[in-house]
């Protein structure tokens, strides 16, 4: 029988949650790297025993951890993230130029074809790549316009409330040269040549907080998701608005439909139904908790616009947690499992595509990220 391994990053360490295909009884391991912020933990699709973890703290900066045995043991690998050339400036919150400064790795995306190749999305926003299992890192500096022909308007990028982070990396399984990334608050970008040149892909996004709400960059994209069988279709949870693109991000249209609020962070796609998507609606950008204290996942089986609330097993009163952008994931078992973590330390699982939910754990530190491996 297949197994699942849920990789959880929290404000104070990492945890690994294991279960069989029933996804009913769970073994909880951890905390790993206790006391450190673990922004992301993700396994290689090529070798599931190869797992990468981003470990950081305000005191001691960034550490990168790697496991080659499914999370049983870990070793620190390379943590030298140096921007290519003169780092330059981006906009600060007040609009003044601010030097690019490395702070932490938000997201790790292992290659689809090579366990030793992994991408890192960092704050201040940039994309790094390692081809030796995380020992050494090089910036794909074309994203920031360095040495590239494309103008990605990097000096105009500005931080969102959480910092100027590159938080989403999506690799196209049908085209090794194509990759998507997203930055708060710059927007989404695509490369079609393996990371040398990039272009903003934000047409159709409207952000009323911007002087020009339809500007090419400056949008606070919270997360983007793709189904591997249709890599040209993208779903986006923006600061406000749930968006969809059917042409690899060239244009977007809103699919918020009947959602009770279209603010949120997390979004994901069913493992076997590319038109079935999940979001965790949050009340507003100033009130980062569910509407009316009711924790709900909303599902659309029509690729957006028509949504239904999934509430069975989730608290429906007095719940004021948040679900962060990397804290939702799906497994690949026949009845697709859906998982999400909260800033209240709960990790919820549904073994039936969202119909019924149960907490795996209730009292972890605030959950920053959730990933699932189907073994």
């Amino acid at each position: 029988m297949s197994r699942v391994r849920v990789l959880v990053g929290t404000k104070k360490g990492a945890f690994i949650l294991d279960s069989d295909g029933m996804r009913k009884d769970w073994k909880v391991s951890g905390p790993f790297f206790a006391g450190w912020e673990i922004y992301h933990v993700k396994g290689s699709p090529v070798d599931p025993n190869r797992i990468y973890a981003s470990q950081s703290s305000s005191w001691s900066g960034q550490v990168l951890q790697r496991s080659d045995d499914g999370g049983a043991t870990w070793a620190a690998v390379g943590n030298k993230f140096m921007y290519e050339g003169a780092p330059g400036t981006h906009q600060w919150y007040d609009g003044t130029p601010h030097p690019w400064e490395f702070r932490r790795v938000w997201h790790l995306e292992p290659s689809l074809t090579d366990a030793d190749t992994v991408y890192a999305g960092v704050e201040d926003a940039a994309l790094f790549k390692s081809t030796d299992g995380g020992a050494n890192w090089d910036e794909l500096a074309g994203l920031r316009g360095y040495g590239a022909g494309q103008d990605t308007h990097a000096p105009a990028w500005q931080p969102g409330a959480g910092g100027m982070c590159l938080h989403t990396i999506i690799l196209d399984p049908s085209n090794a040269e194509r990759m998507y990334i997203a930055i708060s608050a710059a927007g989404a970008f695509r490369t079609d040549d393996g990371g040398k040149n990039w272009k903003p892909i934000n047409k159709g996004l409207v952000s009323p907080f911007m002087p020009n709400p339809s500007a090419e960059v400056g949008h606070c994209v919270h997360h983007v998701a793709m189904h591997g069988s249709r890599p040209e279709v993208l779903f986006m949870q923006k600061h406000w608005d749930v968006m969809r693109s059917d042409n690899a991000g060239d244009t977007w249209h809103e699919v918020s439909g009947n959602l009770p609020t279209d603010f949120g962070f997390a979004i994901d796609v069913h493992a076997h139904e590319p038109e079935t998507i999940y979001v965790a609606p949050i009340k507003s950008d100033s009130e980062h908790f569910p509407l009316e204290g009711k924790l709900q996942v909303w599902r659309s089986k029509t690729g957006g616009n028509e949504w239904e609330a999934l509430t069975k097993g989730l608290p429906q009163q007095d719940c004021y947690v948040n679900v962060l952008r990397d804290a939702m994931a799906v497994d690949k078992l026949d009845t697709c499992g859906v998982y999400f973590g909260t800033t209240g330390g709960q990790v919820y699982a549904s073994a039936d595509a969202g119909e019924n939910w149960a907490p795996i754990v209730r009292d972890l530190p605030a959950v920053l990220s959730v990933e699932v491996q189907t073994l």
Binding site: S58, W59, S60, G61, A75, A76, N79
Partner: protein, 95 residues
């Protein structure tokens, strides 16, 4: 030298680490020796690139604050002789 708890865990060492450092014994040289023996500590006490002390890390020696003295300043003789440790502490900064 004495490391903060979270760096002891990262490096897998106990409360005190003894290092062989040639004179003149400076914070930079102590850290060079420390990082050579424990490469996982690179970047955690001083920054890559600039080599500056990370903002929330503080250095103390012989009950004096050496955080702002400069990496190239010679540490007190008692530290160089191994009688007193170079203390590295994390600032009390919440979290």
């Amino acid at each position: 030298m004495v490391l903060p708890q979270h760096l002891r865990t990262l490096a897998g060492v106990g409360a005190e680490v003894s290092l062989q450092v040639d004179a003149p014994v400076t914070a930079a040289r102590v850290l060079d020796a420390l990082e050579a023996r424990y490469p996982m500590l690179k970047g955690t006490i001083r920054e890559y690139g600039t080599g500056k002390r990370r903002a929330f890390m503080r250095f103390f020696a012989c009950a004096e604050d050496w955080s702002h003295t400069g990496m190239e300043a010679e540490l007190p003789g008692a530290v160089a002789e191994g009688k007193e440790p170079l203390l590295i502490l994390g600032a009390i900064a919440g979290g």
